[in-house]
Symmetry: C2
Subunit: 292 residues, 2 copies
């Protein structure tokens, strides 16, 4: 079997980006970290880390980090079964891919409902988060993908409801004559990033055609809401994030029709038992926030 | 001189990632976009876009996009001077690098205070946003760097104040006997990403040593606040973002001492005149939110 002290050194270097910080985390010297990593690279027969600032995993290194995390999760399940028999309870770090709007609305609450877990979140669009799972770089993901990933389980979470919103002043200025093609072509629109198709999909649902809009690129969920409130543009905001702004009249709907994005929880079956608590917290919390 | 219709095609492909969407934006066919890009690549003598999903700029392509944007900004200044003389007022897109916490606290308000500008924001840590300017990939940046970038102007904006916060319950559980080294070593800490050194710096200021903390990695400003509120961990939050939570008692300070991060506005002198409105809005808004 592999030397798991060596693997821990690799994982710490990749997580912190630096030999010094990895050493601190492990309570050893940087040269011990460097030595362990070198031995592991010799054993594997490949470079595992591209040295630099920060130090970054090679594909082989990333695969080994994922393995170290999986073993950590299996030890967590083992500890639960053995009732702490001689195994010190160290919190396990779980890497999860989640879309920004889930993190902004309900995912933190799910995280807070678990004990003894440390989270390492990567953000990606819900249409792309399954790729992280497919590449073996995360243990689980919140995805919009319905396709199954090899070796992974999947459970529907419900739909995150998006509503097209803008400030009342923005509506008066740009949509005084209604939300039609000419107005949409002129009114500034917010877009999270290249992967964000929600505004375009909503327009197609509404007027059955594609419209090129003047666009602000605003890659943060709360800034998206703030941008609508400040009259910068209109955008598709998660309903839980703007509910009170709609109630108070600081935001208004462009049109009644919402856009529901169905989300799934997908996880690696190799660590299914160890993820049981997290899966339970995620599905229970999602039930309260998402449209079933 | 270069053919600016060709340059616009390149910029649209890189911005949208797709030939189809670039075509929509420009009101031409995808094959026209493809043709223009090919002609430009022949003229430059290098590939400008790596074809794929999405289409991504090569280094030469990125440099040309930046040039197209600079020319757009110069035309904006020209239009202002000529008083619309025969130049249709098209909104110019300006690419700016900004740190997530500025975007979460004050930057949207600065954006909303300008007219006729579309923003394309890239997020990076305040210690790294100047690199975007140095590489010529943005026209301006909010940075913590004091070093000047060649060909760029710089103006101090004031400091964003960070406070170490946690929920009252979290404090009782982890810091009942005070915020000392042993407690910090055990209590889960929030960290934005590898580049985020604020928690480590604050600990060093407080107890004059480095402590390895159990860490949640949480790469979103509002989720950072939500994580503290939910008792997931303690973290350095921007004071404007948690002021009302501190007032209401939903968050408490770990210790009085804040951490001030000085920010600068840095911009490319080549487009200084065209950025004048934006610079004015940014500096005026920063004055109201940052510690002077």
């Amino acid at each position: 079997m592999l030397d798991y002290d060596h693997l821990s050194a690799l994982a710490a270097v990749v997580r912190t980006g630096s030999f010094e910080k990895a050493a601190q985390q492990l309570g050893v010297t940087p040269s011990a970290v460097s030595q362990r990593l070198k031995l592991l690279e010799e054993r594997i027969g490949a470079a595992l880390v591209v040295r630099g600032q920060p130090n970054v995993a090679t594909p082989a290194g990333a695969r080994l980090c994922r393995h170290a995390e999986d073993v950590g999760l299996l030890e967590r399940a083992l500890r639960a079964d053995l009732g702490e028999l001689g195994l010190a309870a160290q919190p396990t770090t779980i890497r999860i891919a989640v879309n920004a709007d889930s993190l902004a609305t309900w995912f933190v609450e799910a995280m807070a409902a678990t004990e003894g877990v440390l989270y390492d979140l990567v953000l990606d669009d819900q249409d792309h988060s399954a790729d992280w799972l497919r590449r073996g770089e995360v243990a689980a993901a919140v995805t919009a993908s319905t396709g199954s990933v090899q070796g992974c389980g999947s459970r529907p979470l419900g739909a995150l409801r998006y509503v097209a919103t803008a400030s009342p002043e923005f509506m008066r200025r740009w949509f005084a004559d209604g939300v039609d093609e000419a107005a949409l072509r002129a009114a500034p629109c917010l877009r999270f990033n290249q992967k964000d198709e929600l505004q375009a999909r909503w327009i197609r649902n509404l007027i059955d055609r594609t419209v090129a809009t003047p666009t602000h690129w605003l890659p943060a969920s709360q800034a998206f809401v703030d941008g609508a409130l400040a009259g910068l543009g209109w955008g598709m905001n998660p309903e839980p994030l703007v509910r009170h702004h709609l109630a108070s009249g600081h935001l208004v709907l462009l049109a009644i029709s919402p856009l529901d994005v169905s989300l799934n929880w997908q996880w690696s079956r190799a660590v299914e038992a160890a993820l049981a608590d997290v899966t339970r917290a995620v599905t229970a919390t999602a039930r309260r926030f998402l449209v079933q």
